[in-house]
């Protein structure tokens, strides 16, 4: 999956899931838990991305400041990035051979 496609996928995920009403702390906790779970999977695959970690930190910081809309947006982005890194690790298990010198 090219870097450009991953960015595209992330943008599509984000725009489709913004809540209509003001977000609550509970909403944030759920979004953050989902992002954390995905990142944990990426960790097990030994393929975490720095940007995922940064987004998780941004989400936490926004929530601490009480801005749950921003916090949830960041958590959702983090989840998308984590999922992309999982996809990368999984597909690269066979795709690595494309680059091999034979």
């Amino acid at each position: 999956m090219s870097a450009r496609n991953i960015v595209l996928a992330t943008v599509l995920v984000m725009t489709g899931t913004l809540p209509a009403r003001a977000a609550s702390e509970a909403d944030f906790k759920a979004a953050y838990a989902a992002a954390e779970a995905a990142e944990k999977q990426a960790d097990q695959l030994r393929n975490k991305w720095i940007t995922t970690e940064t987004e998780l930190a941004t989400a936490k910081k926004a929530a601490a400041a009480g801005d749950f809309d921003a916090a949830i947006a960041a958590a959702r982005e983090a989840e998308a990035l984590a999922n992309a890194s999982i996809y990368q690790a999984t597909s690269e298990k066979t795709r690595w051979k494309d680059m091999e010198i034979r």
């Binding site: 090219s2 720095i50 940007t51 890194s85 690269e92 680059m99 010198i101």
Partner: protein, 280 residues
């Protein structure tokens, strides 16, 4: 009907053939193909010069580097390393007691495969294990003392040919294959593999830096990087290569790092040790 059957069998064979070819690891064949790839891609580069990384790819850089080598920035690290190497531990023993040939002129044999443990042992790992076996605290793998020690040891092996052995132990072959896989696997948000820069694009630029060829890329380690304003070990470079693709680096001396160092060193067998090195 006959046509369809033939097509199916052709497809089946086509799918099978590469799988059969991949089945048996053949490091010697890999090494041959790897070296031929770079020699063919850069016919004007002298074989031994590949170990000089970006300098082998750019004449202007090469001239600057030659001048710098008269008074290289890693000199301090080599001297410090020599002093450290000969200073006994609290228990009276020295690093010389942990290594063959008293640790002099042996860098080109690392990484080795330890058949008792069933794992790859890098020089950095061996040094820290030596310290711990003698009651000393291990050093940080990324810089400072570890860089000085490995700089000195590399210096004593200057011009010796890289000589990595893969014993006919299935675990050694697996470690080699693991390292090879790691090298070619895309990672990080930027989706680069080591090969993206060092196989597909040596001699080209990434931002302002000229990319080094993968052939012999371990031979100059450890390196004084102008970017770091100081020395860095193999562990440091592997970790920063990861973070540069926006991949979270693994722990120093993780299996993956040990194995990729094993792979890269093995395919460079025959090329001279040029370490310690200076890089932009």
């Amino acid at each position: 009907m006959v046509k369809a059957f033939s097509l199916a069998s052709i497809l089946a064979l086509a799918l099978l053939a590469p799988a059969l070819a991949d089945d048996k690891p053949d490091p010697a064949a890999d090494q041959k193909a790897f070296q031929e790839f770079f020699v063919k891609k850069f016919p004007k580069v002298k074989y031994d010069d590949f170990v000089n990384g970006p300098y082998s790819m750019d004449e202007g850089l090469h001239k600057q580097w030659e001048e710098k080598e008269q008074f290289p920035p890693y000199e301090f690290a080599v001297e410090t390393g020599k002093e450290m190497f000969s200073t006994p531990f609290k228990n009276g023993k020295t690093y010389a007691d942990c290594f063959p040939n008293k640790g002099i002129g042996i860098r080109q044999n690392y990484p080795t495969f330890d058949e008792k443990e069933g794992k790859v042992i890098t020089l950095e790992l061996a040094l820290n294990r030596c310290r711990e076996a003698n009651g000393e605290a291990p050093y940080n793998y990324l810089k400072d003392e570890m860089a000085s020690l490995t700089a000195y040891m590399a210096f004593t092996s200057r011009d010796k040919k890289m000589d990595i052995k893969i014993p006919s132990d299935p675990r050694a072959l697996e470690a080699y294959e693991n390292g090879k896989r790691y090298f070619y696997t895309r990672r990080g948000q930027l989706n680069f593999s080591c090969a993206t820069c060092h196989v597909q694009s040596p001699g080209e630029r990434i931002r302002s830096e000229v990319l080094a060829p993968a052939l012999g890329i371990m031979n100059a380690m450890p390196i004084y990087r102008s970017e770091w304003s100081g020395m860095g070990t193999t562990s440091r470079r592997l970790a920063t290569c990861n973070s540069q693709t926006r991949a979270v680096p693994l722990e120093p001396q993780s299996d993956e790092y040990r194995d990729v160092e094993y792979f890269l060193s093995y395919v460079a067998n025959g090329l001279p040790i040029s370490g310690p090195g200076a890089r932009p």
